[in-house]
Every structure is written in structure tokens, then in C-alpha cells.
Subunit: 210 residues, 4 copies
DNA sequence: TATGAATGAGGCTTCATTCAT
DNA sequence: TATGAATGAAGCCTCATTCAT
């Protein structure tokens, strides 16, 4: 349809502008004209490509979320990885997503994933699917005896995903230092925290003085 | 003047109605008249007691959040508890808050804590304080050698709180079974998951046949 | 009804508060509660004494305006005065009214006399009566040959009153210096200007070296 | 884009409708929808062109007032005219303004020039400038000995302008006959009254038998 | 495709007035 | 008289969406 030669893909242009504006002002606090202005196109053109303001957000979410679902699926398919390694890759994927497209991830988290009464409700099934895929990984670990039995895989998946999303929130709101180095360390640390636990293991670690 | 015997405290009545309506329709999708209707009072009375729709939400949040901050502080002050026991009480307090006032907690989480661009931004400092108080508990554990050194207390606090909030989200959105029994079990399990880790400890647990 | 001994006349208190508030904020930009606050009485008491916000203004205007009408009538009745002397006394009366009760006069001028579409329309007849009484004085002067024939008394009255009201406006808005001395001088000068004219009379004044 | 042939300039259309409505109902007693209805456009279009109801009034005032300021400046620049002739032209200009656009002039006088607490305050400087320009003309007359020394030019300007505005008020409120003939005669008469004075000059007019 | 003028329902807020005590 | 809580109509302004060009 476009993307050809020098011609800019206006549709993509508008979508990217929406990411910027939604991230900066919030979905409810921006106007469609803000998006058009940011994209440098006329007001009405937004409605030529999209049915509504909401559709833009839906599209942004679905596009990105599917990529994540696919990624988790692919990670889980890697038979040579242990469950913990798989979770490490999942965490790595999500954190990298934020590293590369912080605005988009902010929009998805703030306006969809954590917005119970509007878009969250609408995309609940898609969101649930992500938790399920993580739960599948955990469930395998429970079956092979690596993970505890008394913590259900659904429960564990929620804790794992919740921890990661909270880290992203921390970076978004400047509650945690957001440097490349921190992002990188976080990938392993979050897995270490959730899988290994915050506590020093009785045996593995002899004893730590102060 | 209020709260006494038969006399109804209209201000409280309106605030409670706001909880119900905000939880059901979402802050942005409800009208002030919905709150008035729910409270059974005239439209204008809402503005007799509150400056704006936003002020109601602010008040609901601040009132409740402070209670939580105080609770965490009191829990931390109990010198006879281990860090893990303290975290267990914190988790218990938050989960009980949801059990007793699910609508209010839903509003706080969905409309404030997780709403980056509107009220989240406004109350960032108050929110941060909660994370800090949890971090203080973790830090003590790191100092006494119970908790791992390589995971900073701030990072750990975010994981811990994120996991809990995600559980609440799961209950709110029916992604997790929300029964009294589940609530009760969750209190210990979330601590078990985050502190002890999802993995079976090398020594403590001999071997589990999947 | 009141005004007795130490007991304050609440009705008068409210009316005086209305003068202050109307003058400061303008009739349309103040609330009934502002008047009550200024008077130091409860909200509802205003409605105990007055039917409406408008009634207060009406009463303030009518009370004062009638005093002026009476004054002009009395001045005109002084048979020993020349028309010019009568106009001098009229100007003196109006200017003194402003000197003694600037707020009240401001309210009357700004909110009634010059407010065509609200109270001005309502009290048009009363306002007209003032112009008429001045016109009566002028008419006598025209009859005795003192004043010009080609300028009708109605026309002349409007010029005369307009000039005075404009001076008051000037003082109200700080466009003219508002000192006791200026007020005093203005009384004669405005009559000198309107009756004698701004121009130097051909004969009376020999010649002035610019 | 506007003003051309058949194409109607909606912005102008709305502004003209505002003149009609403001003049008829008064600024405070009309709704924005009244303006839209009068213009025959949709409600929202008013806000497409103007930021607020007030902005319309401001624009109407500023546009017209500047024309008057320019006109007075041009009149004063005519070196071949005597001060009295200049004032005659100023009076003529203002009265003609009312003749040609009575509604607009009514709005300007009633809602701005004479509205101390709202728009009058806002445009005080612009209003003052008009008085100043008239004062400049008077001052020249005082310097060349034509006008009296004891009446300051600022004072004289206020009397002159006040008289004219009062005449306009008289026509607006039907206190004075408003015919073409009267308008025409008023131009000279108001100057005759203020400059020449209402009184018959001692010498110039021998004696008039009442 | 592209523009931006035009539409109009929706909703917050104000505030004069009433009323129960 | 005195209080101030309670009422609810009114109106400004916003902004998503449509439409003519």
C-alpha cells in the first residue's frame, strides 16, 4: 500500500506519532489533533487511516503484544533451554522491548495492560495469553521438579510478570535508575530474584558476613 | 456533625459512592452525576463537598495510601519479626485491604498507582514512599546476611510489590480465582515465591518426582 | 425594625457589604456568598432579607438615586440661584456623593446607569427623570435668554450629565487624579467647561499669550 | 479564503452575529449558542474560530477602537484645521460610527467602555489612549490661547468624550430622538456646547428675548 | 490521498435559590 | 432570626468524528 521508494508511509507516520503523544500526554489527555500535529499531517488524515482514536491504541497494542506472544512461544520451543533459562530470555525480551521502544512500551503498560476499565478489559484475552505462556514454562519446571509444587504455575507466572512490569514502571517513572547497564543487569536479577528467591539459599551460599 | 447515629454523613456517602462508581465504570468513563446518583444526592452537593471530580479520587487515594504507609511502618517496627515475617505481614495487609475493600483497592491501583500520566504522576512521591518502606525491610535483611547482596533493596522491593499488585490485578480481572481461601494462601505464597524463590532449594528439598 | 441600641442592623450590614463587593468584583462576577462573607453573616440570611441578588442592587440604586432626584429638585427650587449656580450645585452634589461613598457611586454608575441591557433597562424611567430635572434647569436658562436657543435643554442636560459621569469614571478607573482638591476644583470646572465653554470668550478674555 | 465572492467568511459571520446578539441581549445575558444560532452555524464552530465568548467581545472592541484611535490621529494631523474643527471631526466620526453600526457601538460602550469590572479594566489602556488623543487636540488649543488655561486638557477631554458618549447612550436607550437629522445636528451641537458653552456669550450674541 | 472546516453531543462546574433545623 | 446544607438548572467549553472539496 505504501512504504514505497521515497514516499513516506503516512499511516506508519501517524502511528508513530500516536506512540509519542500517547506516551507523553496519556491517551485520555491528548487530542486527535495532537497526534496529527506530531505527525505533521492534516487533521482529517488520521480518520482516513483509522476509524477512531481508540483504534490507533488497539493497533499499537495488538501489533506489539503479538510480537511478544510469538517471542515467548519461540523461547518456550527451544528444547535445549532449562525453564529458568527460558524465563531469563522472556525477561530479556521484555526489557529489551522497553530499551528499544520505551514510549511504545509505556503506552502499552500504562494505557492497556494496567487500564482495567478501558482497554485492559477489551484486550483481556490477549493479555491473559501472555500470562498463560509464561505459566506453561513454569508448569514444565514444576513437572520436572525444578520448581516448587505448592506454587501454582498461574500464580508464579503472575508474580514473575508482575515483577518485570513493575521494573518497567520504575524506569518509566524514574523510580529506578534507567541506564543501559541497569537494563542489562535487571534481566538476570529479576530471574534470580523470582526463581532463586531474595533469600540466600541455606546450602548454596555458605554464609555471608554482614 | 457526622458519622453519628442516624444522621448520615453525606460527604462520606458521596465518597463511598465514588468508590463504587469509579471501580465499576472507571474514573474517565463515569460522570459526576453518576456519583451523585449512586449516592442518592443532588448533583450540586458533590461540589459542595469537593472541588472537583479529581479531588475525590485524590482524597480516596491519599486516605487509603497513608493507612498502608503507616501499616508498613508499624510492621517494620516490630523488632521480634524476621524480615521475611515482616514482608509476610506487608503482603497480608495489602491482600486483606483488597479482601475488605476490593472496589477501593481497584480504584487506587487502576486509576492512581498504575496511571502514569494522570494521577500516578501527581502522587508519585507518596507511591515511592511505599516502595521505600518495603526497601527498608529488605535492606535490613541484606545487612544481616539473610538476603542476597547482589540484588539491591530497591530492586527487590519493586519485584515484591509488583508481584503483589499483579496478583490483585489478577483477581480484579478474573485472571486468578478470587476466593477467600485463595486470598489467604496467596499471603504466604507470594512471600514464599519472592523470598524463597520459585525454584526448589538445592538442599532443603531432596528431590521431587514431577 | 432594628437599628436599636447595640444590636446591629443585619439588613443594613448586608446592604453595605453588597456595596463593597459589587464595587470590588462587579455584580456579575461576585456570588451571593461573597456578600454574606463580607457581611460576616450566614449564607441564607441574605435571602431572609432580600428576595434575590438583583433586589439588593435595585435597592441600592433606588435608595441613592431618589436622594439625588430629591436633591436636584430642591436645588431647582432655590429661586435665588441662577441656572448656572443651580448646575454648579448639582455638579457639587454628585461629586460629593462620589467623595463620600465612592463604592456606592461606582456600583450605581457601572452596574445600573451604564448597564444598558440589565439594570439600566429596568430603571430607565428613574434615570430619565434625573436628566429631565437637569433639563428643567437648563430650560429655564434658555427661556431667560442666558442659555443658547439652538441647543435643546434635553441635549444640554445629556452633555452636562455625561461630562460629570465621565469625570467620575475617570476617578474610578484612575484615569484622572482623585484627590480631595481635584474633586473640589472639578465642581466648578465642569460647570465652567459646559456652561462657559472650553473656548476663551471673544470679549471677556482680552487675549492670552500662549 | 474569505470575503471572496459567494464564499461566506464564517468567522466574520460569527463576529457579526455576536454584535447583534450582544447588543440585543447583553454580553452576560446571552449564551454562546445564541450567537451560533444567529450566525446559523453549529455551536462548535464558534470555538473553532474563537477561544472563548470573551475573546469575541475583545476582538470586536479592539478592532473598532483602533479604527477610532487611528481616525482621531489622522484628524489631529490635519494642520489646516483649528482645534475646534478637529473636535468637530472627532465628534462627527464617533457619531457616524454609531449611525452606521449602532449595534457595534452599543456593545463597545455598554460592555467595554462603561464596564468597569470586566472588560473595561482589561482594555483600560486602549480606552485611555482615546482620551489622550483628544487631550492632545485640546492642549494645542490651550497653547495657542484659544482654549481656557484653567481647564486642563485631560479634564476637558473627559468632558468632551463624556458628553458624546452620553448622547450615544441617549440614542441607545431612546432617551433622545434618534433620527438621521438629529445625528447630523448633534455633531455640531455637541462641539458648540462643549467648546462654545451652553451660555450665550456676553458679546457675540447681543441679547435674546426668551 | 489530503485538508481542515463544520458538527454537536457530552460533561464539568457554577451558583442563585430553597429548605430543614 | 439565623444557619449552611441541599437542590438542580444553566452554560461554557472540549473534542471525537464527519464532510465537502
Amino acid at each position: 500500500m505504501s512504504g514505497r521508494s521515497g514516499a513516506v508511509d503516512k499511516r506508519r507516520l501517524i502511528l508513530d506519532a500516536a506512540i509519542t503523544v500517547f506516551a507523553r500526554q496519556g491517551f485520555h489527555h491528548c487530542r486527535v489533533s495532537d497526534v496529527a500535529d506530531q505527525a505533521g499531517v492534516a487533521y482529517g488524515l488520521v480518520y482516513h487511516y483509522f476509524d477512531s482514536k481508540e483504534q490507533m491504541l488497539n493497533e499499537l497494542f495488538l501489533e506489539r503484544w503479538q510480537i511478544m506472544l510469538d517471542a515467548i512461544g519461540e523461547i518456550d520451543a527451544k528444547t535445549d533451554l532449562t525453564p529458568r533459562q527460558k524465563l531469563r530470555e522472556v525477561a530479556g525480551f521484555i526489557i529489551d522491548s522497553y530499551r528499544h521502544e520505551p514510549d511504545l512500551m509505556k503506552v502499552i503498560i500504562v494505557e492497556v495492560t494496567r487500564a482495567a476499565n478501558s482497554f485492559g478489559r477489551l484486550h483481556l484475552e490477549k493479555i491473559r495469553e501472555a500470562y498463560n505462556r509464561i505459566a506453561v514454562i513454569v508448569e514444565a519446571a514444576r513437572r520436572d521438579g525444578t520448581f516448587k509444587q505448592d506454587i501454582s504455575s498461574e500464580f508464579a507466572a503472575m508474580c514473575f510478570y508482575g515483577a518485570i512490569e513493575q521494573l518497567l514502571s520504575g524506569w518509566i517513572f524514574d523510580l529506578l535508575p534507567a541506564t543501559e547497564d541497569e537494563f542489562e543487569r535487571a534481566k538476570s536479577l529479576v530471574v534470580e530474584a523470582i526463581c532463586g528467591g531474595l533469600e540466600v539459599s541455606p546450602s548454596s551460599t555458605p554464609a555471608v558476613s554482614g
